[in-house]
């Protein structure tokens, strides 16, 4: 490190603005990606509330469903759905970066790792949807 002496008055340290993440689209996308975990947590809370309502019987469950139809909550859950999907997509797309798998000397392309994740996601979602909606 440079030690400031009388011969070197000082070097200039630019302060990083609190809004650094607005200065570039890439940084904004990053912050949104990180923020999406809040919405994932929200969905967990909703699911826990749903399970609790289920355990307490039909009356409580009907109340829970009524609560969910509140316009504010509908809006919140719509936004949350978007962010949860965003969270999953960014996660699947980034996962291959952490895994340098080599087959016969050549590194596997990203799609070979992200692809199966997407497929599994679609298949499992379809299975869950079928179970829930068929009745």
């Amino acid at each position: 490190m440079i030690n400031p002496t009388e011969y070197l008055p000082k070097s200039y340290h630019a302060r990083v603005s609190t809004y650094w993440w607005l200065s570039r689209w890439a940084y904004l996308k990053f912050i949104l990606r990180e923020a999406s975990s809040v919405f994932v947590a929200w969905f967990v809370v909703v699911t826990l509330l749903q399970i609790r309502a289920l355990a307490r019987g039909p009356a409580d469950y009907a109340e829970f469903q009524h609560w969910l139809r509140n316009p504010l909550l509908l809006a919140l859950n719509a936004v949350s759905l978007f962010f949860v999907i965003f969270h999953a997509v960014t996660w699947f797309n980034l996962a291959p970066k952490a895994m340098a798998i080599r087959l016969r000397g050549k590194r596997l392309p990203s799609i070979a790792i992200a692809g199966p994740n997407y497929v599994a996601w679609v298949v499992i979602s379809a299975a869950v949807a079928w179970i829930l909606l068929r009745g």
Partner: protein
Amino acid sequence: MANRITLEVTRYDPAHDEKPRLDAFEVPLRKEWVVLDALNYIKDHLDGSLSFRWSCRMGVCGSCGMTVNGVPKLTCATFLSDYAPGPVRVEPMRNFPVLRDLVVDTSDFLVKLSKSKPWIIRKVEKPLDEEYFQTPEQLDAYKQFSMCINCMLCYAACPVYGLDPLFSGPAAIALAQRYNLDSRDEGASDRLDILSQHDGIWGCTFVGECTQVCPKNVDPAGAIQQYKLTATMEWVKSLVLPRGASSE
């Protein structure tokens, strides 16, 4: 295409200035010129007191990293005509203290680099008449990470480094990983002890901008995430097999 373009260049002389300002210069716009040629034109013909670093002018020495229109770039590999009609803003690299004009203090990187122990570590050295056999596949395992020219554009792009100067940073970690993956090296656990601390690999939140700006496709973000995976595996192994767990 017009034949002139304006450059707005950061000026800062600590002896006189409280903080940096921008000076505007009009320079010729030639199709084969890079931004560095424009800076040299300013220095040679308009204002000799403009200070900046450069050397090889072919993208291999890593001296000329600056911020061009907000993006970290090597000015010797950035064509002026891409910014026509201009103006082009040329500022010093972000996240480093500015010493003078476009020159920043990069000594922190060298400290971080040394901490990564970027050399072959072996328990027993081979004698000089014996070769380390290394197949092309083994070379490929680390080759990409060995291409780092130490230009530090990745540090300029990394918001974590900007907010926390103690963070080891992309290049230092990528170079550690380069040696970890080198089949001749036996020092991965030494490096892990240092880099698995809070300001090492775990400081990284995978913004990924370092990889975006890297002029040599080193992919430091990839190196760090792979390193995190390895570190986690080592930790799990140490829990599950507490004795004799270390494979390195």
